[in-house]
Structure formats: structure tokens, C-alpha cells
Amino acid sequence: MSKYVLKRVLISILTLLAILFVLFLMLDYMPGSPFNDEKLTAAQKALLYAKYGLDQPFFIRFGKYVGAVLRGDLGFSYVLNKNKAVADMIKGPLVVSLKVGAMGMLLGTALGLLLGIAAALKHNTWVDTLCSVVSILGVSVPSYVFALLLAYFVGFKLGWIPILYSSKNVLRSFIGPMLALAMSPMASVSRFTRSEMIDVLGSDYIQLVESKGVRQNNVILKHALRNTLIPIITIMGPILVNLLTGSMVVEKVFGVPGIGTMMVTAIQSNDYNVTIACAFVYSAMYIVMMLIIDILYGIIDPRIRVAKEGS
């Protein structure tokens, strides 16, 4: 097992390095400059480029950047928060985004599992139809539409949740974004749970367990659910990606000071160091999630671990 984990971790680190390189290269080709003021003369621009070391060749800049990143230094912001260390800048927003994202994902997954199981058990009844409608809505309506609807109806009309994030009342402020973000994971998870569960419940070994007289609850929780979980864990990666991209817009609607909002502003203003840091954090979250999923596979289904170790 440890050999398997070690290999996964090494691959993850290499992937992150490759991502950093691609990000750096893409930013180099991004049109425009961090210093867009129309009043700047060529001489002044040159002065600014020299000050921030942007006048140096690509590979030197990249080498220096990687060196600095390894020391925990993510550089300084050129535009968003002038001359402030990027590492200090992204800490707060990252924590906020992680909290909202994790809450949305947990809530969505939990609800999705419940809906999916209910639909499978009550296959071809009104419960099943209802679950299908909910999951189709969740999959097809983008999270920012939910965000706007929530802000308007639940926030403005009913006044149950704050429309805008307030640091004076962080937890209440999280309800709107959390609900908006939970929709997509809930829908995907419930669809997969339903179809997997129906398959598993119809399989020979479940029929064997049932014929042995095991109680219905135990059949579902001990035997059926465990086998249903494997494909669901597979889709956690794509769900996370959905959540990450969705969070950028949802954060904007509710005025949540998260990293999504920061990244969009940084891209628009060519704030290179902030853009790289945000994009890198997003990539790292994704890769860490994939790593966890890979490891979970091994735990849940030993066949996968054995097969991968063998190859």
C-alpha cells in the first residue's frame, strides 16, 4: 500500500510542476501588461518592468519563480494589492473559499446519496420520478442561476438569508453560497447512486445475501452501498472541478471574499503573480483530491490497488 501511495504522491508533485510551467508560459503569451495606464510613457513602463524583473528572459524568470515558490515566496502583487506579498494575500480568501466549497460539496454529496438511494429503492414510483427531476434540474441549471434565484427569493423576498456576505455574520452568510454550490454535486451524485444502486441490487451476490435472510437495512448499507460507492468516488473529481469553476460566479453574486473572485480580477488586470498563485492553488486542490480518490480506491476495492501495483 505504501509503495502505491508513494508513487501517486510523486506523480502528483510532477504534475504540479508541469502545471506551473504551463501557467507561466500561458501568462507570458497573455496579451497586455500589468501596467495598463494610458498615461504611461515607454520609459516609465521600462522602469516598472525592470523593477519587477519582468524584463528578463522567460526561463530565468521561471527558474527564479520556482526557486522562490519552494521557499514559500509567491512574489508580490503588481495591481490588485500593490507590492503586497501574494502568499499573505491569498491566505484569507483561500480559507473562505475552502469553507464554502467543502460545505457545498458535503451537503450536495450527502443529499445526493440520500436521494439516489431513495430513488433506487422506490424504483419506478413517484419518488423515483421526483428524484430524477431534481437531479436533471441540478445538472442542467448552472450554479450561478441558483445563486441569483436564492439571492432574490430567499434573500430579498423572504429575507431568510443575507444577500451579501458579512464578516459580522459569517455563518449565516455562507448559507446562500453553500446551497447554490450544493446543487450540482447533489444532482450528479444522486444520478449515479440511483443507477449503480439499481444495478447492484439486481446482482447475484445481493440476491444471495438476501436469500441468507440478512435484514434489508444491512443489505443496503453493508453490501449494496459499498459497491455503489466506487463509481461515485470516480465522479468526485469532475464534481470538484464543477464546484471550483462554479464558486467563482457564486462568490461574486453573494459578495463572498473568496479566491475565485480574486483570480478573475487578477486575470483581468494581468496581475501575474496573483493569477499564477490562484490557478496553482486550484490545480493543487484538484490534484490532491484526485490523490485522495486514488488512495480511497485502494482502500475500498483492494483489486484496484493490487492491479496498479502489479503494473
Partner: protein, 543 residues
């Protein structure tokens, strides 16, 4: 059963987190606090490196300059209690008010201004606003910025603790209002050097001497300013709000909903929300100093833009009223010249636009006649051009589409639209890689010079490499030559210079930007300045 328990615990946890505690203290309700939304975030509190409106507004709250602006945009005394201008207009002597202290108790002195202005011009700081010292003509500012002479040789001096003297190369008619601009604010050397590494990055890394102090800095969310009892004019500010909160919300719709709910007192509306809120009692429109124009690339390869008749046809065929009143509907007005209205006032106090008159007309017949001439002169029958515009905000796109259809309908010219992000547009224009480009200019000071200077051939970029000897000579005469000491003659030269540019169709002015806001009808004292920084320094709530 374990799984079931896990799920229940999870759900219960979420519910607790979701419903959480908290007193629900919405800040807008408090009688002594006002919440204003900002649609772009605070970039920096370092007033020597700031370049954006939001940062300037917040710096003006808690620091201050030699002068402030009154409601009409005229300079009034702030940290200076008096000033004198030498007879030839090249030496300004400012007398710093007695008893003004920084928030750490250190007295404010003339040395703080000398230190601040030198830092602004320091090539090592590379401030994007260093140019403004050169604009007002501070002696040796340009040379010092290039590193040719030491910063100490700049024309700024502290004769004693309370006397700050500025020496200029030539008179400057707009220097006094600019003293309210944050780039010219003072900086205490001792404090700065003690905090250099983290200067202006937290409320403790700043010194205050303005009507408010910065008391809570919540990044990306809220910025709270509290009334400064030590402000020199505090006795006259008793009615002002005790607390002003700037709330960053980039989504205009959410901000407007929060305004309707009473959580927010002032919010800027995006164009698409104007119709929805135009009957709200708090609906307010204002005219900004930004003038939008179509910049013409005078170096374009095909040479069609070298033809005056072709350029005339383009400008004559635009119905600017339709663009402002029917398309934009946000308080924008049709351009009647290159220089905007309600922006700059002459030596006799008259609005520049009134003196200069309306210089643009909509005349399809004249436009078609000019186009026929152009066809003959150029030997071209069909014209096709591209129009570059930015997509960062929605107004340029709406305007570009209408220009396209007006030119097609009135002149039969094929216009291809080129939507780009703002930074791409700027880069393309800077590289002269365009035909026509919809662009704007945000003025730094209330004088036509800020606009006219764009078309002097020694200023780089954005004028489409326009070159006009006669215009250059006139501008030099007004700015540094024989008319520079006579404010009335200088003003007349500016009027003449604008006419010269428009007769030659150096560019095509389109509209002057307006914006719509929702402001709680009980709130007063917000002062908008079409050039310079909007003031929230004396905001009040009437009950």
C-alpha cells in the same frame, strides 16, 4: 449502521454551521454608520503608487492635501491655511496649518510634503503617477525622474517647518485643485522609514491626518473609516457620519437588492439595471469627466484615413443623441466637442464648453457629399474598416454596434467589429495595430490641457500617431510659451486648439459618460467631481 450515523452527523453538522449563531447585525441599520458599495476593490493605501479611483477615494478619507475641493470642484484650504502665488505664477508658497498632527501625535510639517513629493518622483519607486509632477511643471521633475539630477534638485523645498515652496518651470492654472489629489499628499519620513517593508499594508502601517481614520481593513470585503477627533476641522464636522463603510460588491444586481433591503446606502448601477430602478426615490444620475471617442489610426496602411473628407464623412454621419439617449440611457450625454462639459472652467468662471461652443453636427447629406469627394480623391469605391472596442464593460459594445449600423446605413461603409478585452485594446492601439478604436480618457485635473495634450505629437500612444505642426505650436505657446503667463490668452488658445483638432477630424468624439446610482434619500454630502476624486469626507444622514 456506521454509515447512517456518519451521514446523520454530517447533516446535523451542516445544519448547525448553516443556521449558526450571530446577532444578524446588518451594518446599514446603525444610525451613525453609512455603507457605500464600491464596484472595484481597494488596490493600495500607498498614495504614491495608487492609480485607481477606489484607492484614491479611501486615501482622501483619512489623509489629506494642502487643498481640498468644494462641491463645485474649487480648491479650498485643507492642511494649508493659506497660500501665495508669485506674480509670474511660477512659485507657490503654502503655509501649513498650525496644530495639525499625524495620528501618532507627530506634528505635520512642510518636510512631510517635500519627502512625499520626492518619493512620488523616485525612479526606484517607479510610481505610475510620477508624470503628474511633470504635468504641473515642477522644476527638474522630469530630469530627476530620469535620474539625470538628484531628487533633491526638484523644485520643492521646506523653508521652515510650516512653509512649503514649489517652484515651477512655467505657470500652471490648475495646480491648486490638484493639491487635493492623493499623489500630492504628505508622507512622514520617520514613520515611513520605520515601517518601510510593510508600509500602507495594514491600518497600523499608515498615519492619518484626514477627517477619518482607517479603523478596519477586511480585505476583499469591507473597509471601515471612523471619524477622526484630531482632524483640524473636527469642530465643523459634528454632523458628519461617525463611521463610513465601503463595501466591495462586484455584482451590481446583488448590491441593488441589498440597497432595497436597507443594508446599503449607496450603490452604483450597471447600465442594464437603470430601467429597473429609474423610478426609485434614490435614483441619481451624474455626469463624469470621461469622454469617449473613436480614435483614428493616422498611420493606417491603406491611407484612407489620410483623407480629410473620409474622416469628415465618418464624424458627420453619427447621430450622437441617439447613442446617448436611446442606447446608453445611463445619464451619458452626446459629445459636442472633444473636451467634456461641466468639467473645466475658464479664468472668468465660465464652463469651457460654453466658451468653446458646439463643434459637432449630425448631417447625413454633408456626410454623403464628403464621402463622394473622398471616393474621387482616393479612387476607391467601397470602404471597409474595422472598429476596435473593449468588452470589459457593456457600454462600448452597445456604442460600437450602433456606430457600425450608422456608418453602414448613412454611408454604405462596411465596418467589422473587433471586440477585445481592455488590455488587449490598449496594446493594439499602442502598437498602432488598428483602424478605428473606441476609447476614453479619464482626466486627472480640470483643465482642457489633459485632453489636448493627447494630440501633441511628443506624447506617445492613443492618438493614432496624429501629427499637426500648427496645433503643436499653438499648444506650446499656451503651455510654456508667450501665452502661458496670461491665463485668458492661454484659455483662448485652448479653445482654438480644440477647434483645430476637430476641423481636421483628428479623432471622432462620441459621448460623455454618465453613471447612475441609488443613494438613500436621507444621505447627503457625497460630492462627485468630474475631474479629481469623489468625496465621501462629509457624508451625513438626515433623519
Amino acid at each position: 449502521m456506521k454509515l447512517k450515523r456518519t451521514v446523520s452527523v454530517l447533516l446535523a453538522g451542516l445544519l448547525i454551521v448553516g443556521c449558526g449563531s450571530g446577532d444578524g447585525g446588518e451594518s446599514g441599520d446603525a444610525g451613525d454608520s453609512v455603507v457605500v458599495t464600491i464596484e472595484s476593490d481597494l488596490n493600495t493605501m500607498d498614495h504614491h503608487v495608487a492609480t485607481d479611483g477606489t484607492s484614491f477615494i479611501m486615501q482622501s478619507m483619512c489623509i489629506g492635501g494642502l487643498a481640498a475641493l468644494d462641491k463645485e470642484g474649487q480648491p479650498i484650504y485643507d492642511l494649508a491655511e493659506n497660500w501665495e502665488v508669485s506674480e509670474d505664477g511660477t512659485v507657490y508658497t503654502f503655509y501649513i496649518r498650525d496644530g495639525v498632527n499625524w495620528s501618532n501625535g507627530t506634528p505635520l510639517t512642510a518636510h512631510d510634503f517635500v519627502y512625499g513629493w520626492r518619493r512620488l518622483n523616485d525612479p526606484e519607486l517607479a510610481s505610475e503617477y510620477a508624470f503628474i509632477l511633470e504635468t504641473i511643471g515642477v522644476k527638474n521633475a522630469a530630469a530627476a525622474h530620469k535620474g539625470e539630477v538628484p531628487l533633491e534638485d526638484m523644485g520643492v523645498e521646506a523653508v521652515d517647518d510650516k512653509t512649503f515652496v514649489v517652484t515651477l518651470d512655467q505657470p500652471c492654472g490648475f495646480l491648486l485643485p490638484l493639491m487635493s489629489f492623493p499623489s500630492f499628499f504628505p508622507l512622514n519620513q520617520e514613520f515611513f522609514e520605520a515601517h518601510e517593508a510593510t508600509y500602507a499594508q495594514s491600518i497600523d502601517d499608515l498615519l492619518y491626518c484626514g477627517p477619518y481614520t482607517f479603523t478596519k481593513w477586511e480585505e476583499n470585503t469591507e473597509y471601515t473609516f471612523t471619524k477622526n477627533p484630531e482632524y483640524w476641522d473636527a469642530a465643523n464636522c459634528t454632523d458628519d457620519m461617525d463611521e463610513v463603510v465601503f463595501r466591495f460588491v462586484s455584482e451590481s444586481q446583488s448590491a441593488a437588492l441589498a440597497y432595497q433591503q436597507g443594508d446599503i446606502d449607496a450603490v452604483k448601477l450597471s447600465g442594464d439595471l437603470v430601467d429597473q430602478y429609474k423610478d426609485d426615490p434614490g435614483f441619481t444620475q451624474r455626469l463624469e469627466g470621461f469622454a469617449w471617442r473613436v480614435s483614428i489610426n493616422h498611420q493606417q496602411e491603406s491611407g484612407i484615413f489620410d483623407n480629410l473628407n473620409f474622416r469628415k464623412a465618418l464624424t458627420l454621419s453619427i447621430d450622437r443623441d441617439v447613442i446617448a439617449n436611446d442606447v446608453l440611457k445611463d445619464g451619458s450625454v452626446a459629445a459636442v466637442g472633444f473636451i467634456p462639459m461641466e468639467f473645466a472652467f475658464g479664468p472668468d468662471g465660465t464652463d469651457y464648453r460654453e466658451t468653446a461652443g458646439d463643434l459637432l453636427t449630425f448631417d447625413v447629406e454633408a456626410a454623403q457629399a464628403a464621402l463622394e469627394e473622398a471616393k474621387k480623391e482616393l479612387g476607391v469605391d467601397n470602404f471597409s474598416v474595422t472598429l476596435l472596442y473593449e468588452t470589459d464593460s457593456e457600454a462600448p459594445g452597445k456604442v460600437a454596434i450602433n456606430l457600425q449600423s450608422m456608418w453602414k446605413e448613412n454611408l454604405g461603409i462596411e465596418v467589422t467589429l473587433l471586440p477585445k478585452t481592455k488590455k488587449e485594446r490598449l496594446q493594439l492601439m499602442n502598437n498602432l495595430d488598428y483602424d478605428l478604436g473606441l476609447t476614453r480618457w479619464g482626466p486627472d485635473y480640470a483643465d482642457p490641457q489633459t485632453y489636448l495634450d493627447l494630440y501633441k505629437s511628443d506624447i506617445s500612444g492613443y492618438n493614432g500617431a496624429y501629427f499637426n505642426d500648427e496645433f503643436n505650436a499653438l499648444m506650446n505657446k499656451a503651455e510654456t510659451g508667450e501665452d502661458s503667463t496670461d491665463l485668458e490668452k492661454r484659455w483662448a488658445d485652448m479653445v482654438e486648439a480644440e477647434r483645430m483638432l476637430l476641423d481636421d477630424v483628428a479623432m471622432i468624439p462620441v459621448f460623455q459618460m454618465g453613471s447612475a446610482m441609488l443613494i438613500n434619500p436621507n444621505i447627503t454630502g457625497i460630492e462627485f467631481h468630474s475631474a479629481g476624486v469623489d468625496s465621501y469626507r462629509h457624508i451625513k444622514r438626515e433623519n
